[in-house]
Amino acid sequence: MASERGKPQRVTHPEEQTWLRGFVGYHCRDCITEFCEADLGGLSLVEIVEAIAHGDVVSSEKDEFPGAVCAVEYRPEKSRTLWVSLRFVANEERLRVLSAGEKWESDHEPSHVA
């Protein structure tokens, strides 16, 4: 796969990435997306779906049930990066947005931590 700037990038969590992209890829009719509006960090659901569809899973931790807690990053513009922290439950086709936000090139910290 290639990053936004065309540089090849190593996919470190291919299984999680495949699952998440499948989730937003119109393949699951009964999939449930859960979120608390206060946790979205000013991002809209469209931006979150876009980040999952085009972004990279940068970290993943196995959970107690089938699934994982993942962090996804996506750079829609050169200076702006969206990040989303998610928990997915694979056997229930359920995705929970834990927190989300955006960071700008000059920032070192996320703009919002829920």
Binding site: V24, G25, Y26, C28, R29, D30, C31, I32, T33, E34, F35, C36, E37, A38, D39, L40, L43, S44, L45, V46, E47, V49, E50, A53, H54
Partner: protein, 168 residues
Amino acid sequence: MNQVMLHDTEKGGPGANLYLAKSLGAPFKVYLADGVEIVTEPSTNKEITKIKDLPGLLAAVVQARVLHTRKLSGQDLKFIRSALQLKAQAVASALDLTPEHYSRCETGPRTMSAATEKLYRMQIFITSFTKDWHVRDAVKRSKRDTPSKGDQIKAEKCSQHFTRSFSI
């Protein structure tokens, strides 16, 4: 597919039992009649919104918007493209526009001609329709079974929408 209603005015809404989907990020008001559940999580006391088939919902919102006659703004174009997970270059190419021209349509300085906007609406309608799981499921089943009554009704509705909105 989820039932979606669009609303133009700032004040008021079409009904009390509808959920106003502010978090979708649409530049217009979207009311949902079903497919949404709001629960309070006992452990955190947070209000959790649960949406069934979010990608399908976004496709339904997009479909409703392109069938609405109001001229598409730059914000509408950006929302539609993001909601369908399309790349700007792919949209520009489908419309025979340069990526720069299309980008200016999204950011505001330029608008699409009436003919280009009509072509855009038709392409987006078909794209969003094919992302509906009812349709994907029907296509899969049609390879082995004859179409069911439900599939026929869905196809007929789509045909009516398309003819009403885009035929000469």
